[in-house]
């Protein structure tokens, strides 16, 4: 499945996430959600499902919805089940001749709502095989409640629940590999992507996910200027560094076949990604060199494994 990507045409499509929402200035989530929804064909309708999150409280604050499509938010931990219910209703009503046209079902949830509290609901929905896309916008912590660690928070990152003190030095644990967990569900399409460059990767992965029948999953890196502690204007650069250091590799797994969707021209050292972000500042203090070494070793190991899997 592929589509000829043309940025100029794409940006001329009517927006599906409007301005006037209340995400922070420079929030990655707004960019990710607009980017994914842009992949919908113009004539197709969608129902957007949302877990409780920054995105939810900002994009549907009564009476202001920022969605051009139907939208439902129910709770934090159940967005995949909520989407299952909408999809089930669609099947039932379609069968009974009570609904017309094509409707697509797209869920957005943060890493807290996906990696952690919503994982059971997500796993269930994927296993049952609903025709839906689940998009995790991964900003690597519970940002809605004010930057608490999640299982998506990378090691050593400072959050309000993994503070840097005289003994504690940020998060002690690894980042859960959620994308792999989703691959293990043997669903038709899984991809890890991010908004970079001309958005071709995000757009193509989103298009594939939306127009592949069955349950599909996108994990999208979505920087949070506040939580990651960098100047909001540098978002594009931060994402590019995540990708070029291989901290956040871009790949897709279609019907079990792994494919690398982006190979950095030159693999940059992890410090290039860490240095601009306040959440990693303590890693650069004297005596903490081991943290950077560990971070680099971990990224290298995962990258090598991905290269093996993708046959690249």
């Amino acid at each position: 499945m592929s589509t000829v990507y043309n940025l100029k045409q794409e940006v001329e499509k009517p927006e599906r996430l409007t301005g006037g929402h209340r995400l922070c200035a420079g929030c990655g989530a707004g960019i990710v959600v607009s980017g994914v929804l842009r992949a919908l064909d113009k004539e197709d309708r969608a129902v957007v499902v949302n877990a409780t999150s920054c995105l939810e409280v900002s994009t549907f604050m009564y009476p202001y919805t920022a969605y051009m499509d139907s939208y439902i938010h129910s709770a934090f931990e159940n967005s995949a089940a909520t989407c299952s219910g909408v999809e089930a209703a669609y099947n039932a009503l379609k069968r009974r001749g009570k609904v017309e046209g094509t409707v697509k079902f797209i869920t957005f949830a943060g890493d807290g709502g996906t990696y952690d509290i919503g994982l059971q609901s997500l796993s269930g929905a994927m296993e049952r095989g609903h025709d839906m896309v689940y998009v995790c916008y991964d900003n690597e912590a519970y940002m809605n409640t004010g930057i608490q660690r999640s299982s998506a928070t990378p090691p050593f990152a400072r959050t309000t629940t993994t503070p840097v003190g005289s003994v504690g030095q940020g998060k002690k644990q690894n980042k859960k590999d959620l994308t792999e967990i989703l691959v293990a569900h043997h669903i038709p399409y899984v991809a890890q992507t991010a908004p970079i460059g001309n958005f071709k990767d995000l757009h193509t992965r989103a298009y594939n996910a939306i127009y592949t029948e069955g349950p599909c999953f996108l994990n999208v890196l979505s920087p949070c200027p506040r939580g990651w502690d960098y100047p909001a204007a540098r978002l594009a650069e931060i994402i590019k560094l995540a990708v070029d250091t291989c901290v956040w590799p871009l790949f897709e797994v279609e019907e079990g076949v792994w494919r690398l969707s982006y190979t950095p021209k030159k693999k940059l050292p992890v410090v290039d990604f860490l240095r601009p972000q306040g959440r990693f500042r303590h890693m650069f203090q004297k005596g903490n060199e081991w943290m950077i070494e560990e971070a680099q070793a971990s990224v290298d190991q995962k990258w090598e494994r991905l290269l093996e899997r993708t046959g690249a």
Binding site: L7, E12, G20, H21, A236
Partner: protein, 102 residues
Amino acid sequence: MICAKDINERTPWQDLTPGGEIYEPGTARAFNTGAWRTHTPVFHPETCKHCMLCVPFCPDNAIPVKDGKRLDFNYMHCKGCGICENVCPFPAITMVSGGVAR
């Protein structure tokens, strides 16, 4: 049908939509987030090559596009994050201090 434009903080309970439903698309467009700006992007159409790289990077969908051309910012929604200035390969966008659009 109760419309979002008729709902405000003085609306009595009888006139609100049940359960907080909204029956229209994109009612958030009526909300002014431009007031949040402390910095403001300035568009220089003369140097813009309409490559569109800034458009998808705008978290607020505040860069309108029409007939292959990007237009001036929608200052009602632009929060002044400055991402667009950074991604612009040309000097077509510059950030200036202050929230007022010029």
